[in-house]
Amino acid sequence: MSKLHVSTTVNGDPVEYLCDPRETLLDCLRDKLNLTGAKEGCGTGDCGACSVTVDGRLVCSCLMLGVEAEGKEIETVEGIADGDVLHPLQKKMIEYAALQCGICTPGILVAAKSLLEKNPNPTEEETRYWLAGNLCRCTGYDKIIRAVMDTAAEMREAS
């Protein structure tokens, strides 16, 4: 099958790639742009390890085709920190030991950032339901939920 040319923006950088129409956005990010931060945990939209935002909307990049990224603004885990300044969520995840193996962490960070942009003051229940699409097998979620809620509190105070 012949490949299609795609122009898109990832973490603010204009990028181009050629992809097979069957390849997912996740495949393109990882294999063509070498942005391996987003992970494939399932390929079926069930684990959230591949979470990115597309035009500000949280999506599973394994469920979107690479060709559909044409003209869009994609944000991945690699774009969360501002240069060498970590986002407060990144700092809190480390401080709370909210990761053990860390394979779910990129997806959780992208999803949690998107939560806090929509809802700066989430309850524990709202946080748990928002992150229900991001599987973590290591932590039991306790420290993740605490890290996200504490970040929210800190960001509210700072603003």
Binding site: G41, G43, D46, I94, G102, L131, A132, L135, T139
Partner: protein
């Protein structure tokens, strides 16, 4: 030089610094198994059997081989001729047979051929060009049915010497142990309860699928990158399966996205190397989630009979258990472990346990966190709960009354050294959770749990740099923050800041053999080796100071990162800080390093007690966990936050196992739920916060008192939750998972 072997006052140990790999992991920079690529790399894909049991009559790969995108096809013929031996003795053969089927496909998902092609899509497409002719055979997936006289035989001759005469060939190992006279014990009891329990197979469920990148040349030299819990076992096994020398294969462990025991063996690694050898190019293989479920190690399913006798005052007079574990189409189901762990928390006069290792047409089981122990605890602790209910006794008091302690002869043989079970039970009793009121519809359950813990072959090197910083090379992949613990222990000995120490997981060419990150051994064994390697370096630092001062080396001691005279008679010299000694080391005798290698034997067994509140909806049968408390003995918590994390993670996996997770096979022997949508592990909205209490009863076998903490946390949850649900629903739950339909059925049976 005076160095106390035992330590109880700490500067760094017990603090909670940021983990050294934190930045990489929150920025997406950390490289996991699938994140590596190589110039000229091909992509591999594996063709898998759609049948549960079938003779492979013919494999015709000619169409695939002729395709322009395909660079190699391999089948069993491309691997070494490893000899078949019965039981676990022939583990290389078993692994090879699992990695690539020989004469028969033994389960749905069993690998039968593999291709390497120029892209992942091309590889997947090429699989469709391989034609396999199967002769389908009768299959069996259930453990009790696999032991029945008319069950299809998975493999003749697989049983080892331990199996009594007359058993079905699918029974491949047998274990029996205990002491005292159980019949006499039952006769003394005021109440004897006998009951049967069933648990289904569950998967470790690590979020990172298996992934590797291998290159093997015609000269027999190879390089392999993979996500694994232990790269030396990968090196050794791949070398055996490919017929090359072990040392010629260098294996590098990637960051690992969870393992829980499931990444302690090989699946795709030898296949990638075989493809690479044939294609003369590096080959990458990444499993899909469905391949992970169908073809990598789930845990065993189990069928168990328990009989326990108790006096009115709560004294256990005798206990007996029969544990049948199904471990897939290969020997290895931990029926022996289940049997040995089941009654281990208790001080019993009369106890007998029997374990069976049974084969069935399912994937080869792999270790899963305290392998075998959770199911046995579920059965035993359920019967204990029922005895307490019927005799009107408090379940914590009864466990305290019978609890094992230092000097108790364990149910599985040895006599315990200092252990912390009583302390966890006392902490449970004192915990506000235990006395908090329950709402209508809620029930509370408690359970104890035991795990052996493991030492294992361990080798660690530590090198000091001129500027006084230190690098530590360990051989145990870091699954949950262990590099932080190693750095804390090295800092404690060297007396330099935690931040000045960099811990690296070395590749197989850089250290001697290291056993896998399993058996809760990393903080214990690699920790012990790190401490001893650091002490080795400290000895040399003291020697340099002694030489400088012109005094004997035993007149120098190490204190707060400095060499100091050991007492007033040693002389009056100013302390020399570590960095001052290393700054000169090139001129005073050369580089200063420390090394330690051994197979430490003092892992120290571990116990925990869990308290759970569950609420059962009688309309839907759905269970919610409303409160959860884990209490466990850590010996000494090196980094307490990561210890809590282990407790919480074990509890969460136990909740999934108890309530929801199971391998579901159709009548055709095919796995029905091979994606996360259908095999649903707990998500954030399913769980409450999980409280933890770290009990510290130092392990005499570790210089700082560490006991492993990784595994014990999954032992009590199945039973504790089953007891909570049974108490909430008013009916004893004997089968896991306690999914809504099973709870509704139990409620209905109960009227």
């Amino acid at each position: 030089m005076a160095l106390d072997d035992r330590k109880s006052e700490f500067t760094f140990v017990g603090t909670r610094p940021d983990r050294p790999d934190g930045l990489d992991k929150v920025t997406g920079r950390a490289k996991f198994g699938a994140d590596m690529s190589a110039p000229g790399m091909l992509h591999g894909a594996i063709l898998r059997s759609p049948h549960a049991h079938a003779r492979i009559v013919k494999i015709d790969a000619s169409k695939a081989e002729a395709h322009k995108d395909v660079k190699a096809v391999v089948t069993r013929a491309d691997f070494a001729d490893v000899p078949f031996k019965p039981g676990l003795e022939g583990e290389f053969w078993n692994v090879l047979e699992n990695v690539m089927a020989g004469e028969k496909a033994l389960y749905d998902g069993h690998a039968v051929a593999a291709v390497a092609a120029t892209s992942a899509l091309a590889a997947r497409d090429a699989l469709k060009l391989i034609e396999v002719e199967y002769e389908v055979l009768p299959h069996v997936t259930d453990v009790d049915k696999a032991m029945a006289p008319d069950a299809p035989v998975i493999r003749e001759g697989a049983a080892d010497y331990s199996v009594p005469e007359g058993m079905h060939p699918n029974v491949v190992r047998y274990h029996e142990s205990g002491h005292g006279d159980v019949e006499a014990g039952f006769a003394e009891a005021d109440l004897v309860i006998e009951d049967s329990f069933v648990t289904e197979a569950t998967h470790q469920g690590y979020i990172e699928p298996h992934a590797c990148l291998g290159a093997l040349g015609g000269d027999g030299k190879g390089e392999l990158w993979c996500c694994t819990q232990g790269h030396w076992i990968v090196q050794k096994t791949c070398a055996a399966l490919l017929g090359i020398e072990t040392s010629q294969l260098r294996v590098t462990a990637s960051e690992i996205g969870g393992g829980f025991g499931g990444k302690t063996t090989v699946f795709i690694e030898p296949v990638a190397l075989a493809l690479s050898r044939k294609a003369n190019r590096p080959v990458k293989i990444v499993m899909s989630r469905s391949e992970v479920f169908r073809a990598t190690g789930p845990t065993s399913s189990a069928s168990m009979d328990i009989k326990i006798g108790m006096k009115k005052d709560g004294t256990i007079t005798a206990a007996e258990g029969i544990f049948r574990l199904q471990g897939g189409a290969f020997p290895g189901a931990p029926g022996d472990m289940t049997a040995m762990c089941a009654f281990a928390p208790y001080n019993l006069t009369n106890v007998r346990q029997v374990g069976y290792d049974v084969m069935a047409n399912r994937p080869k089981q792999a270790a899963y966190r305290a392998p075998g122990a959770p199911m046995g605890a579920f059965a035993v602790e359920s019967v204990l709960d029922e005895l307490c209910n019927q005799l009107g006794l408090d379940p914590v008091d009864v466990r305290l009354k019978n609890a094992a302690h230092e000097g108790t002869k364990a149910s599985y043989g040895p006599t315990y050294e200092r252990i912390g079970l009583v302390e966890t039970l006392e902490a449970a009793k004192a915990h506000p959770h235990y006395s908090a009121p329950l709402k209508p519809g809620q029930g509370r359950g408690i359970s104890c749990g035991f795990w052996f813990n493991h030492g294992g072959e361990t080798s660690v090197s530590l090198a000091l740099s001129e500027d006084g910083s230190a690098q530590v090379m360990v051989g145990t992949p870091d699954i949950g923050g262990s590099r932080a613990s190693m750095a804390l222990m090295a800092a404690e000995v060297l007396g330099i800041p935690y931040e000045n120490i960099r811990v690296t997981v070395a590749d197989t060419a850089s250290l001697g053999y290291n056993d896998v990150s399993h058996g809760s051994r990393v903080t214990y064994a690699s920790g012990l080796a790190t401490i001893k390697a650091a002490r080795h370096a400290v000895e040399k630092l003291c020697e340099r100071a002694a030489a400088k001062w012109g005094i004997p080396v035993d007149a120098v001691k190490w204190e707060d990162g400095c060499a100091v005279p050991s007492g007033p008679n040693a002389g009056d010299f100013d302390p020399i800080p570590l960095a001052d000694i290393t700054a000169d080391m090139g001129r005073t005798g050369g580089p200063i390093s420390g090394h330690f290698e051994a197979t430490p034997e003092g892992a120290g067994v571990s116990f925990g007690t869990h308290i759970v509140d569950a609420e059962v909806d009688p309309e839907t049968g759905k269970t919610s966990i409303t409160r959860y408390t884990v209490i466990q003995d850590a010996g000494k918590a090196i980094h307490p936050t990561y210890v809590e994390g282990q407790y919480q993670g074990g509890a969460a996996q136990g909740i999934g196992w108890a309530l929801n997770e199971e391998y579901i096979y159709g009548d055709d022997g095919r796995l029905q739920n091979s994606i996360f949508l259908d095999y649903r592990i707990p998500v954030a909205s399913d769980l409450p916060m999980i409280d933890t209490v770290i009990v510290e009863v130092p392990n005499p076998g570790h210089p700082f008192g560490v006991r492993g903490v990784g595994e014990t946390g999954i032992v009590p949850p199945l039973a504790a939750i089953a007891n909570a649900v049974s108490n909430a629903a008013g009916v004893r739950m004997r089968q896991l998972p306690m999914s809504p339909p099973r709870i509704l059925a139990a409620l209905k049976d109960n009227g």
